[in-house]
């Protein structure tokens, strides 16, 4: 996302321009995935700015050329006239400790699956969770805040928990090691354990 008056309208002009991300988090990884389609590796200049509000405000005040943000910051930026120059989605993950037993994990997933059904039946009904979250609301207030009508609902995609396939893990592992974001000594077998996960059909 770039400020309203930015000369940038697509990722190809962002070479050697500082782009705010949170290293080792979704904004870092999806930022690389979006930019590598337009720019050579040596021209991609990501800078660690930490939390969403730090990234968003550094973009808005022109300290960086662009920032990678997620909702509800995208909706706020668009309301302020900021331009989305690239948009991507990524798959979330549940990280459970080794002492999480199979029965408990399955019970949690059933509850989450039912919640996903509720959300997808009426997404706007639940947007107040995003709007009223103090880590967003306190910062967004000075920009006029948001209402549920400010969101582009198809951007919010909630699916039921499903296992990572070996192919997904291998592809992600190879991508991470290519960007030197994961030790070559790590391997899929000690990163992901699907033994306690029940396959579930993803909706949508």
């Amino acid at each position: 996302m770039v400020p309203p008056d930015s000369p940038h309208n697509y990722p190809g002009t962002l070479g050697n321009q500082p782009i705010a991300v949170n290293f080792h988090a979704g904004s870092h990884y999806v930022g690389l995935r979006l930019l590598e389609g337009y720019l050579p590796k040596e021209k991609i200049k990501l800078v660690h700015y930490g939390s969403p509000v730090q990234r968003f405000e550094s973009m808005l005040n022109g300290e960086v050329a662009a920032a990678v943000v997620m909702e509800p910051w995208i909706a706020l930026g668009e309301k302020l006239g900021c331009k989305t120059v690239a948009e991507g989605h990524y798959l979330g993950a549940e990280n459970a400790s080794e002492d999480m037993d199979e029965e408990t994990f399955a019970a949690i997933n059933r509850a989450v699956e039912n919640a996903v059904d509720l959300i997808n039946a009426d997404k706007r009904k639940y947007l107040h969770y995003l709007i009223d979250d103090p880590s967003f609301a306190n910062a967004a207030a000075k920009y006029g805040g948001l209402t549920p009508e400010d969101f582009h609902l198809p951007r919010l995609r909630y699916t039921k928990p499903a296992v990572y396939t070996d192919e997904m893990v291998e592809d992600t592992y190879n991508w991470l090691t290519r960007w030197n974001l994961l030790s070559n000594e790590a391997c899929a077998a000690n990163l992901v354990d699907n033994r306690i996960a029940e396959p579930a059909s993803a909706d949508d």
């Binding site: 988090a25 200049k45 930490g50 730090q54 997620m70 039912n114 919640a115 509720l118 880590s135």
Partner: protein, 72 residues
Amino acid sequence: MKKVVSEISGVVFSLPWLVAKDNGLFEDEGIDMEFVKAIRSGPVQHTENPEDVNPVLGHVAFEQGQVSIYRA
């Protein structure tokens, strides 16, 4: 009820969990779910080198065994 403590970070990622708790869906499954907020970073040292940043980020409670599950 089985007690489970889960970390909540970005609300957009945890929305189904918040909705599940507020609608009694965890209770229906015999889960007493407690949420702990992830540590939010304030201003950070800007760097272009990912190796300068601890990849644990705000998930300290999980690393210390205070919560048993989180999402990212």
